[in-house]
Symmetry: C2
Subunit: 210 residues, 2 copies
Amino acid sequence: MSIIESLNWRYATKKMNGNAVPQDKVDQIIEATRLAPTSSGLQPFRLIVITNQELKEKLVPASFNQAQIADSSHLLVFAAWDNYTEERINNVFANMHKERGTPPESTADYQKMLINSYVPRPEEVNFNHAARQAYIALGMALTEAAELKVDATPMEGFDADQFDEFLGLRAKGLKSVVILPLGYRDESGDWLAGLKKVRTPLSEFVIEFN
Amino acid sequence: MSIIESLNWRYATKKMNGNAVPQDKVDQIIEATRLAPTSSGLQPFRLIVITNQELKEKLVPASFNQAQIADSSHLLVFAAWDNYTEERINNVFANMHKERGTPPESTADYQKMLINSYVPRPEEVNFNHAARQAYIALGMALTEAAELKVDATPMEGFDADQFDEFLGLRAKGLKSVVILPLGYRDESGDWLAGLKKVRTPLSEFVIEFN
């Protein structure tokens, strides 16, 4: 199926049937997020994968009681770095040089430039920048899920502070930014399932300079 | 080709060969961005598509002289709403009701809730929220481009104010947030083309709660 067909098939599933998504499909969705490009390759976010039913149920009230949290098979939480630090930036480049067998000196100037421009900025500015990168990966996860006929509902409607507390994210220097329950639609119980997908008309959405 | 294979094939192409991407492929990449889900379905961004060579060349100095701007076939600019307004929110719902044939009253409470919570927020908060939505679409555009074997380089390194001025975006209530030149790699001239793709190891990237 073409990606466009898959994206037309997908929708923000409101009611899931509780069936489990096979691990190989979840693995591919995770891998799509890991392969997502990010600014300077920093990958300033982590992916939390929750299958523990007790924990999912604990998170329902922290998600405005949206049922997909408990009915999903896997709950993905995209959690961004709370800040850019010299150590985090250096770690990314150290891993890159290890993988490529390249000399650390080859990126020393670039690393210094990144550190000098990012680290002094307010934490909020850096967190917002990191969060945006996580959204690129969210787009890729949604596309991969649709291609695999796995339902997924991107959600910003949750209490990030409570999630961070329940998941112990603060100690890891992470803050949750967006969540994505994975599962399978229960069409008979989903008010949104039968409704036409609506988007801004192409003529309004695109501005051309030819 | 599977999406994972396509995402492994793609990279942030540094040197493009100037060949034109066929219009039907560009159309599919645009459609992927238009189908991207966004918070409350607001689609708070527009896509600028630039093929005009003179304009692309004018934008090179506003992009730290990165050659892909001029060598790309199509330069996509993701431009987010500068703010959420009552009129913009109402327009989205009016279009939805027209397309679905549903009564405007059916979402009146939800629209009022959105307007009351979004419109009073600082413009910067709203712009940042809108920008994040554009990044979901960026992730989908990158995936679709890779699947179609079109090269694409997501770039934040450009002068957004100058772009907004040259493209007349301010008058449209838009601010450019990220750009994506599309084209074809010139492997012989691209220092990055032969280097191994490096990502955070899965064991560090994923945090599981089973």
